[in-house]
Subunit: 339 residues, 3 copies
């Protein structure tokens, strides 16, 4: 093959997107893992997300990504994440090719993920990928000419969720401004529920590890944080504590991050049933919490947070979702060279 | 909770849409039931729908809702209704987040309808909801900050279908003009088929009850109008008759509204088979009808109207569908403050 | 019915699209079969596709079809074809109503294809149809007022695939220019794999039959070209040869068109397993091929072309997919009166 020369007149494919700021730092990059985000990167993402939030509040949508196409490729259904990315792209004036039926389609004819990715990048400018297998997003990015955004790869990562979680903590507690950047120093963040399988908790912890914060991990003994992750976190500056009860740390918490016990992770239904409501946050719980604490949840919830919490201003979970749209707008604009 | 004060710097979420005519009468309202529509409201809706029809005829699409996002949330599939709303939104320059896979998604993880609604309103400006359970649309509207449009809630209501049916009668028979409004006085409207489970017939009857019209209800004895509904209609000015044969009323009818016997409502397949073609309208039937009569059907049809009727100008059912798009354009523009 | 007169004031439906060049040759036409395309037509289609390619390379998207709606109606899933049409429409500034769930929807209530088509044309300006039954696209076009584009009808045709294949051969080998048109004279094109059921091979062969080319058909004996098709091809000017080995013709081929053995066509799994890898193209194979040969495949592939071929510049299959978008952009613009 070394002797190969393309014949005269053979065209080269227009592989690069069109009219973009190719000097922009995230231009053309894939977003696969929270490990890609150093503190300065977080300042940058949050700066853009903050702008997006302002713009949506003022005008609803605008044409920053007009003419750009996003392929929204979901190998497993996720109404929330898929809708959030679709809305993000559309509020920036771009359009979306939604692909939700992969389980019936080429894939059932045996097509590999790399082939599907290389197909879609023929049509679209960017691909959002949700896949049940850990490592799928990295595998996709390895073959892709266009940016891939990981929207969850099994028990692997869900970096946009972790970023929106962190953005929510910062915005809700007044710990981010475009001028001073992000500063969570001194905060106490309590993470509650299924910490063993909770991918969002793992990613968020990694983002918090290098900061001056206290992390309380509250779970039933069988659903504790993975040991390897606790070891990894120990190399950071965050102080960590593992508990099996919320009471000792509730009153001091600035953030209470609640997660669902995920039925789909359990083979033993009885075990799931015994654990699913190990911790339930209700109005009564909040009487013992700070007035300034916020309650977060990646949703869906199935009883971990009672509905009577919703009217409480400390219930931040719906604002958290809205922030998800702003963070995803920021990431789309960044990788498409428009931020 | 009475002592709760939001901390300094905590933002309030930009809950209201952007740059709309907030003084518009239907701005921000949900559309749940035909009971919301008084005669003056019908004049208003039809005035806007009439304009939409003119505009589409002239320019195809226009940018009245540019920048607005619609979440099209279908818990049960309905190609026709879903497509009609998508087209309505897109012809107004807005964009759509189609959500058809809820049965596989968060819902299968146990998420409640209110949580799904409160999620989607974080992203979209308006939600169209189709749900198999009666009362679902009202339940959604009760928790939503953004307008909900009921696209059918089980055996409950399907108000946009009833409005498009009425609009079709008015337009086809020359009974609406923007100047004089709606006037159906003196018309004879014959409703045929499954009147027991036919939600569209129920809603349309309610809209017609306060008018000076004659309503003939023709059905097999086992599929008669529900008694409670006949009682309700009796309080109106419309004159009603129940029959088990079409012949006595066909020649005098201005409208023949045909419905499908819905297989999915029957547990007894044999009973369904015996009833499904209790009445079949064909070319022969129409020889006994007025030249000016129109034949309507909410579709799909499965044999109640023979294909040989299609070329007859009295076959109004495809024009009826097209009117559905105009009525839905009107409703979307109204609740989003642009009509 | 001959005596029928529409009543005064009954509106006629605005059946024609809006503001289009109605004198354009393909305006309002349906695209059902490759038999519609004479050599002069190919020059025309490729001229427009060539322009589309240039424009996408320069600006990504543009507003030629702004305000037009495409209904993308897929009765069987096909991620690649559906995405390609969606991207084509969106890169032209138009919008799409994706309909992928027909198997659950009206159709499961028994609705006929003509009724579904006549419904969708009430909303959209053009319908792309993928259907498992041969003849479905022609049946749809027979009842439709709006253009239908056949995106595959079972073992019938897939004309847009054949056109993009031919366009790819022309563009890759420098055999098309807007000035001189299409000229494949003297080329040797080898088609390999399942030639019995391979609809794309059948359609492409028909397009090539009237040209001055050599066609080599290489397949296992049980998967040879259908006899009737070979008879049909014999009436053209292309010279045809059938073989059961690639070796005798590889070195002389300008194009090697590889197809998948389609599992879904076999009742006998063992037979499928014995045939599926009858021919595998890998890096080693290419050492015996010309430097200027191109390798094509309609995808998905399931092993017929090894991944180690991908980096070879002769691997044209991803460029082929990209060309699919340009050809579909051309066809959409043509039938909507904008080319």
């Amino acid at each position: 093959m070394t002797s190969y020369r393309p014949p005269e007149g053979r065209p080269t494919s227009p592989h690069l997107p069109f009219g973009d700021r190719r000097d922009a730092p995230w231009y053309g990059q894939s977003i696969i893992s929270v490990r890609q985000f150093q503190p300065a990167d977080l300042d940058y993402v949050f700066g853009v997300a903050h702008e997006m939030r302002e713009m949506v509040g003022r005008v609803g949508t605008f044409d920053l990504l007009k003419g750009k196409l996003l392929a929204n490729l979901f190998y497993e259904p996720s109404t929330r994440t898929a809708s959030s990315f679709m809305a993000a792209m559309q509020r920036l004036g771009g359009t979306v090719i939604p692909i939700n039926e992969v389980r019936y389609s080429s894939v059932s004819k045996g097509e590999s993920l790399p082939d599907t990715i290389r197909t879609l990048e023929c049509y679209a400018d960017c691909i959002v990928l949700r896949h049940p297998q850990m490592g799928a997003a990295a595998e996709a990015a390895a073959v892709a000419r266009k940016p891939i955004i990981n929207a969850g790869d099994g028990v692997g990562e869900h970096p946009t969720q972790a970023l929106l979680d962190l953005f929510t903590i910062a915005i809700e507690l007044g710990r981010y401004s475009p001028r001073t950047g992000l500063d969570l120093s001194g905060l106490t963040i309590t993470l509650l529920g299924d910490l063993k399988y909770g991918r969002t908790v793992h990613s968020l912890s990694r983002l918090l590890a290098p900061m001056d914060v206290r992390l309380n991990f509250v779970s039933p003994p069988t659903l504790r944080m993975p040991e390897h992750l606790m070891t990894e976190l120990a190399t950071g500056t965050a102080r960590t504590t593992e508990l099996d009860a919320l009471d000792p740390v509730l009153a001091d918490s600035d953030v209470l991050y609640v997660t669902r016990v995920q039925k789909e992770r359990f083979e033993d239904v009885a075990l799931y049933e015994s654990l699913k409501h190990a911790f339930v946050i209700d109005r009564q719980t909040l009487t013992r919490a700070r007035d300034t604490m916020i309650v977060m949840h990646p949703f869906p919830r199935v009883g971990e947070i009672a509905y009577d919490v919703d009217p409480d201003p400390r219930a931040a979970y719906f604002r958290q979702m809205e922030n998800g749209m702003y963070v995803r707008m920021a990431l789309l604009a960044m990788v498409l060279g428009k931020a």
